[in-house]
């Protein structure tokens, strides 16, 4: 069905189609609309799920963990401080190999209080063992959420998955949305280690170093296998529903001398900047990084690269710029822009490309930095 929706409503619509058995969530701006919509679906009988109105995000993830290992598909949503508050359980969910799907509406962290988009919240969960995808449109928020369940629950993966969308910029924008009849796209939830009282097991007991290392390695092995699973699921999705995605969304990159790498809505806005630059005779392209974990292999050889980081690792640099540098050996021009919802237009992005100085870092909007 073709309609319009906000990014938040699109996520909720995908959750409705995926029919989780249990949803446990705590409201936080700008994610609240997702849980409100889901609570409404459940109350109205449009979604036969059990909605647990927990008292905190820590408990939201704990309840998802209990439900997921109990044997049902599970979803939650959060943002910013909520994600940080559940951090302990975010790690636990991955170690417990539970395919929980979470929408994280990216938002900056206090102080001072700031409710607008930034990727630092998601990146602070970088090393938890969660798959992370960043979306750029309302349609993609819907599609990625649907695919998230299939990827996470695949027996080669069995890891939780975080769908990231920019706070307000995407969560609250109204765009067109085509919802689909998913048919048997999502198989019934099957967790090989779901709790079974006929076969009682002790889950996650005290574990010695030698065994612990094996289980950590299995997370990494599954993360590596996830690349192929993601590609398979995205291919099947394209065949069934006609919309295709990849690890990156490349725009006019074939003959580009300089490529802008950005994530989320800035990655979409960059495409407009590329058109402007091309009109001015600058052979630029853009590569919107969709998957952050597992991190994809990027074909950037022989190009100049401008990385826009809507995040920062203090005392080190932009997180994406660092990833690009270590993965490709290319010294990018690192632009720190869009923190706390800072307005970054396509004209600004075009200027980043025009004024690039590879190997250096610039904070957009800061005049006195060294």
């Amino acid at each position: 069905m073709l309609t319009i929706a906000t990014g938040n409503k699109a996520v909720a619509a995908a959750v409705k189609a995926a029919k989780p058995g249990v949803i446990a969530a705590y409201p936080i701006t700008p994610q609240t609309e997702i849980v409100e919509q889901i609570a409404d679906y459940v109350a109205g009988g449009d979604l036969e799920s059990r909605y647990i109105p927990v008292e905190s995000e820590h408990s939201a993830m704990a309840a998802c963990i209990g439900a997921s290992v109990g044997g049902v598909r599970t979803f939650t949503a959060t943002s910013s401080h909520g994600l940080l508050y559940m951090h302990e359980m975010v790690h636990w969910a991955a170690g417990a190999r539970l395919p929980i799907v979470m929408a994280n509406v990216n938002r900056a962290l206090g102080p001072g209080w700031n409710i607008w988009a930034e990727h630092t919240d998601a990146f602070s969960q970088r090393d938890t063992g969660w798959l992370q995808v960043f979306v750029g449109t309302v349609q993609e928020a819907y599609d990625a959420t649907l695919m998230a369940f299939k990827v996470a629950e695949d027996e080669r993966v069995l890891l939780p998955l975080m769908v990231n969308l920019d706070g307000f910029a995407l969560s609250h924008i109204t765009q067109s949305l085509e919802t689909v009849d998913i048919g048997d796209f999502l198989p019934p939830y099957h967790l090989p280690h779901a709790i079974d009282t006929e076969n009682p097991l002790g889950y996650g007991p005290v574990t010695g170093p030698a065994d612990y290392v094996r289980f950590r390695w299995d997370i990494e092995r599954s993360m590596r296998d996830a690349r192929g699973v993601i590609a398979e699921v995205e291919r099947e999705f394209a065949e069934r529903f006609g919309r295709s995605y990849g690890p990156t969304e490349d725009y006019r990159c074939e003959d580009a001398d300089v490529i802008v790498v950005a994530m989320g809505t800035l990655g979409k806005e960059a495409e407009v900047a590329i058109d402007r630059l091309r009109d001015a005779g600058i052979k630029a392209g853009s590569m919107r990084l969709r998957w952050f974990r597992p991190f994809p292999d990027l074909d950037l050889a022989g190009r100049e690269v401008v990385v826009i980081d809507r995040d920062y690792s203090f005392g080190f640099g932009g997180v994406v710029a660092h990833a690009i540098r270590s993965k490709t050996g290319i010294e990018p021009y690192s632009v720190i822009a869009g923190l706390g919802g800072q307005e970054v237009t396509y004209n600004d992005i075009a200027d980043f490309v025009r004024n690039r100085r590879p190997g250096t870092e610039t904070w957009f909007g800061v005049s006195d930095h060294v």
Partner: protein, 304 residues
């Protein structure tokens, strides 16, 4: 010589013979929590799951790949047990399963770090049983104070004796108006068994608070574990009761104790943690016992 095989073991006849705690756990010798868990599991039966936060029981079950427990045990982070149980209980309900979900948590994971999740689960009406086995300190990590450590007790973080009183967990839980709540003590395992049975027959959030004396933590000889629990009850320090849909019933052993409590010294004298308690503190402890007895007596008599 008495032929014991033909003589009936009368006081055990009502209790299932099955042991869900295999020989043997890595609990300390004389551990009352192990004793409690035996009876909890006998009452709950095999279609039950234990959700366990970080606590002594995390260790008692044994190290991977073997476990001493023959029901599923879900280990979860310290603050998370009640919330995890909420999710599990809802999942089972969604699947039409009637499996018992039982949190078995220490006092630290209950009165301190886990109290928010506990409160949330009770407010939401989660269908589960929460059992707090209370050894009045962080036992697993070597006896640091918890919110449940009583006034005057020495722990590794209150070397001069705890200057403040034990948090009244039961009154916090009571404020949630659960359909069933009870206290129990490891020295009365059959009473605990009956309470677990009754709790599991009721829909909604149930709570049992079990006093679990701890030989290394309280510093008494291992063989005194049951004796220590009985003294807690006989001195009125620990009162056995049930509150069903708000109606309080004082249980047998405490009825007599409340009328004429044994001297408090009988209980604390044998515990190294109360060594050198000042007369002032002892007096305060006595007052607390008396106040608690009076409060529960008034409630049972319908005088509030």
């Amino acid at each position: 010589m008495t032929n014991i095989t033909v003589r009936s073991v009368t006081n055990l006849s009502a209790i299932p013979k099955e042991e869900y705690l295999y020989k043997c756990t890595s609990a300390c010798a004389g551990c009352s929590s192990s004793l409690c868990l035996r009876y909890v599991l006998k009452a709950a039966g095999p279609d039950s799951v234990l959700v366990i936060p970080a606590c002594c029981t995390s260790v008692i079950q044994g190290t991977y790949p073997g476990t001493a427990m023959s029901v599923p045990v879900y280990n979860v982070a310290f603050a998370a047990s009640a919330a995890c149980a909420s999710g599990m209980s809802e999942a089972f309900a969604a699947m039409g399963r009637e499996t018992n979900v039982i949190v078995y948590a220490g006092d630290g994971g209950t009165v301190d770090i886990g109290i928010q999740a506990l409160s949330g689960a009770f407010e939401r009406g989660t269908n589960f049983l929460y059992i707090c086995y209370d050894n009045e300190a962080y036992g697993n990590t070597g006896m640091q104070r918890s919110g449940a450590t009583p006034l005057g007790a020495r722990t590794t973080t209150t070397p001069g004796g705890k200057p403040t009183t034990k948090k009244d967990l039961d009154r916090i839980v009571e404020a949630h108006n659960p359909p069933y709540m009870a206290t129990a003590c490891s020295a009365y395992p059959l009473d605990l068994y009956k309470k677990v049975k009754k709790a599991l027959s009721i829909e909604g959030p149930k709570f049992i608070h079990v006093l679990a004396p701890c030989p290394p933590g309280w510093r008494y000889p291992t063989e005194k574990t049951v004796e220590m629990g009985k003294l807690a009850v006989k001195t009125g320090t620990w009162i056995l009761y049930e509150r069903e849909y708000g109606k309080l019933t004082i249980n047998g052993p405490s009825k007599a104790a409340m009328r004429k409590p044994a001297p408090l010294e009988d209980y604390i004298r044998g515990q190294g943690r109360f060594k050198n308690v000042s007369p002032e503190i002892l007096n305060l402890m006595r007052q607390q016992v008396q106040q608690n007895i009076e409060r529960l007596s008034r409630e049972e008599a319908g005088v509030c």
